[in-house]
């Protein structure tokens, strides 16, 4: 066997599928590198510039100013992941992956079925790592001892006459195939979701319903939206002692179009409602409105989040503003007044829920706050395939860490003596230094455990172990 990988693969029956023809260009590894680099650069730009589809146009204007934001928008950078350029790039990368898998990755599986080959001293001497040594034991005994030592280190060995072939980490050779199957499955899962799935977000006030009629989905969509709705029965926020939010909860009922309750579930962040392929997530929470009554007349005021509190503002005259502040759902309502000549608002009163206070001729009663729960929902029919794809990819990259190693040994009778001359060599695609140390260790232990060669003539310099550098750069590594 030569040290050339490509030559050895062809001699063993590996031949790229798309050597010629229109698809050959997509099988190029150089194209893979180019597309990966271009894809990485595009995503980097997309990560740098806020994306309108995710955070809205206001964020782009806030970050870059109006003029620059308009330019970025016109260039497609503010929604780069939906531009024809990016979609074509992904299509090219997918094509490259499919063709590359069929051309180079999957056909290599055939190589794994081939039996191990055996080599003589001359061929072993050309291997990336090789050495020779002599011992005073017979070739059969020497080979048996070497076989045991390699097996103890996890090598699978085959002996043919006075030659031995061993391999380690063959399972690692499946890594590219499994990873590429995972990536192709991921493409399939994402495509199924894109054609049939839907998603959306809606802030829903306590007592209101969530319907799916305003869902977002792709243009090529062939799915169906559910007719059932989700009713918010209750929603609350749980705090730490310090007053910071610990968790948000919502009690939800699934109801059909006639109002019949089909299911009831409590959700929180990280614990969604799951019903007939649709998941509803607790994604945000707040106090949206405040109901107060003035002399018995209920009025609903909008609340604004101001740091840790929610506040409603009610102008009393041209200079005085009544501020109603709430810390949480159960805390009392605090009333403040603010005039321009005051440095800070002055607190007037504190009203527990359901109670009233009199301010001059006006009775103000704190009726209740109206909480709003932010519900994210989605239907993702391709998810099982996507999850299987994730499993394949993780397995593939884990297997890729296993070094694939080959060792070949040829033992011959050492001249007219009873000893043996051993040629041992091999290669490892990863962890070459560790591989070379392993072989050196085996050689040293062989010399230590077997009797030394009987020397009847002058010392032959070749009887000492030697590391033979060849053209390959790994020959010169640290041993």
């Amino acid at each position: 066997m030569t040290t050339s990988d490509s030559h050895s693969k062809q001699s063993l029956g590996f031949r790229p599928v798309f050597r010629n023809g229109p698809l050959a260009i997509f099988a190029s590894v150089k194209l893979t590198i180019f597309l990966l680099a271009l894809c990485a650069t595009t995503i980097l730009v997309g990560a740098w510039c806020p994306q309108e589809a995710t955070v809205g146009q206001e964020k782009v204007i806030e970050q870059f100013g109006e003029e620059m934001a308009v330019n970025l928008h016109n260039w497609g950078i503010t929604d780069i992941f939906h531009t024809p350029f990016f979609l074509i790039l992904i299509a090219f990368l997918s094509m490259n992956m499919v063709v590359g898998s069929l051309d180079k990755v999957f056909p290599k599986l055939r190589l794994l079925k081939l039996p191990l080959q055996f080599f003589g001293p001359d061929q072993i001497a050309k291997m990336p790592f090789n050495t020779t040594f002599t011992v005073g034991a017979s070739p059969a005994e020497t080979l048996e001892k070497l076989q045991i030592k390699l097996q103890q280190r996890g090598f699978k060995t085959v002996v043919h006459g006075n030659q031995l072939a061993a391999e380690y980490g063959k399972i690692g050779r499946y890594a590219p195939t499994i990873t590429h199957i995972g990536l192709l499955s991921l493409l399939l899962g994402v495509t199924i979701t894109s054609w049939t799935g839907f998603s959306g977000f809606k802030p829903v006030r306590l007592g209101d319903d969530l319907s799916f009629k305003d869902s977002e989905h792709s243009k090529q969509w062939i799915g169906k939206l559910p007719t059932w709705k989700v009713h918010v029965d209750a929603t609350r926020r749980e705090d730490y002692e310090s007053g910071e939010a610990k968790q948000w909860y919502s009690d939800l009922s699934v109801i059909d179009d006639k109002g019949k309750v089909l299911d009831k579930q409590q959700i929180s962040v990280n614990t969604p409602l799951e019903y007939k392929g649709v998941d509803v997530y607790q994604s945000s929470w707040g106090l949206d409105q405040l109901i107060v009554s003035f002399n018995g007349h209920d009025k609903t005021l909008d609340l604004r989040q101001m740091g840790k509190v929610y506040a409603a503002f009610l102008p009393l005259d041209s200079e005085t503003v009544l501020i109603m502040s709430l810390r949480n759902q159960t805390a009392p309502l605090r009333l403040f007044a603010k005039r321009p000549e005051w440095d800070a608002p002055k607190m007037i009163s504190e009203i527990p829920q359901g109670k009233a206070v009199n301010l001059g001729a006006v009775e103000i009663k704190y009726v209740r706050p109206v909480p709003v729960t932010g519900l994210q929902y989605k239907s993702d029919p391709g998810l099982p395939i996507t999850y299987i794809a994730f499993g394949f990819i993780m397995l593939g990259v884990l297997l890729a860490a296993i070094p694939f190693r080959h060792v070949w040994v040829s033992v011959s009778k050492d001249g007219a003596e009873s000893g043996s001359a051993v040629s041992i060599g091999g290669r490892s695609k990863k962890a070459k230094v560790g591989f070379e140390r392993l072989i050196t260790k085996i050689v040293e232990s062989m010399k230590h455990e077997l009797p030394p060669p009987v020397v009847t003539t002058a010392i032959d310099p070749e009887s000492e172990p030697s590391i033979n550098p060849t053209a390959s750069r790994s020959n010169e590594s640290n041993v």
Binding site: G46, A47, M394, E476
Partner: protein
């Protein structure tokens, strides 16, 4: 933070600084070189054990998995850097990587110690982080980042031993510039647009410069050492890449579990994908023999810069997104 935990963390920080100086000083004492190298590794080992105990103590004190903000992630990063170096040093018998690893760990300790006190004190979790997914998703990512850093540092040594000193100088300068941008972004109020330009522009120019100056050799290469550090660099990536993949995928699973979408082009997850793609390109270049060891070293340094941008850059250089737990401004 308890005094016990503080003492352990300080021990680890001081160990990393001491270890760095002993590694550096060993080069000036040829007679005691090997002994000093061993002593430096032992000091780092002591720091590693102290930091392991400090992280455990923090978890016990906080009654949660101790990886929820920037400060805690820096402790984990330093821990993975020290542990990663000790493992590589044991496997390969290398020592020169030690002073770079010790310097990196010390830098992270210093960075962490300069963060505001509210980062260092144990604080309650925001609702989104109250999940078992946090301990599945975050540790593989932090450990992968540390492995990529060790790979990049090993590549610097490969460039040194292959006598590509101009390329090495440009690579080191680019890394220093990138860290400067991160430091300014974290601790000053310099306009983040300039810092983004400094980081990204500097990295781009520096990496291209390092690549095109590979032709310039300044002496006879120490081939044996160059190949050793090339192998170490690849090994670190071979460990880091699966961990990054697992981190990204488990992040997707968590996001799907919590928000209903496993991918939302959030800046941080996009950047993690960029890092993944760059190392995927490295692996393709490597296994298809498309590039020399020196070119691969420059790719690995570029990977280090992308990892730095993913890990610290997005929080300190003013990028938004859902992964803002590391922010403190």
């Amino acid at each position: 933070m308890s005094d016990f935990q503080l003492a352990l963390t300080n021990t680890a920080g001081v160990s990393s600084v001491m270890s760095f100086w002993v590694f550096v000083a060993s080069n000036g004492f040829k007679k005691y070189h090997d002994k000093m190298m061993t002593a430096a590794s032992i000091v780092m080992g002591i720091g590693f054990v102290a930091l392991t105990l400090a992280i455990i103590a923090r978890g016990v004190e906080a009654q949660r998995f101790p990886l929820a903000n920037l400060y805690e992630s820096l402790l984990w990063f330093a821990w993975a850097t020290m542990g990663g170096y000790l493992a590589l040093a044991t496997a390969y018998g290398i020592r020169q990587l030690g002073w770079l690893a010790a310097m990196l760990a010390a830098t992270m300790f210093l960075y962490g110690s300069w963060l505001p006190a509210n980062q260092q004190t144990i604080s309650p979790l925001v609702p989104a982080l109250v999940s078992y997914w946090r301990q599945i998703h975050v540790p593989p990512l932090i450990v992968s980042y540390a492995m990529f850093f060790l790979s990049g540092l090993s590549s610097l040594l490969e460039l040194f031993h292959s006598r590509r000193k101009v390329s090495l100088g440009l690579s080191v300068g680019t890394i220093v510039l990138a860290f400067t941008a991160i430091g300014l972004g974290t601790f000053t109020s310099v306009d983040t647009k300039w810092l983004q330009l400094l980081f990204v522009g500097g990295s781009l120019l520096g990496t291209i410069g390092a690549y095109y100056t590979l032709k310039i050799k300044s002496g006879e290469p120490n081939q044996k050492q160059a190949e050793l550090y090339d192998d170490v660099s690849y090994r670190a990536i071979a460990i880091g890449f699966p961990l990054l993949t697992i981190g990204i995928i488990t992040g997707g699973l968590w996001a799907n579990h919590a928000w209903g979408t496993y991918w939302s082009w959030d800046p941080k997850e996009s950047m993690a994908l960029v890092t993944w793609l760059s190392y995927a390109a490295y692996i393709h270049l490597r296994i298809h023999h498309e590039a020399s060891a020196e070119k691969l070293s420059v790719v690995s340094v570029a990977g280090l810069l992308l990892t730095l941008l993913t890990y610290l850059g997005f929080n300190s250089l003013g990028f938004g997104g859902l992964h803002s737990y590391g922010k403190f401004k």
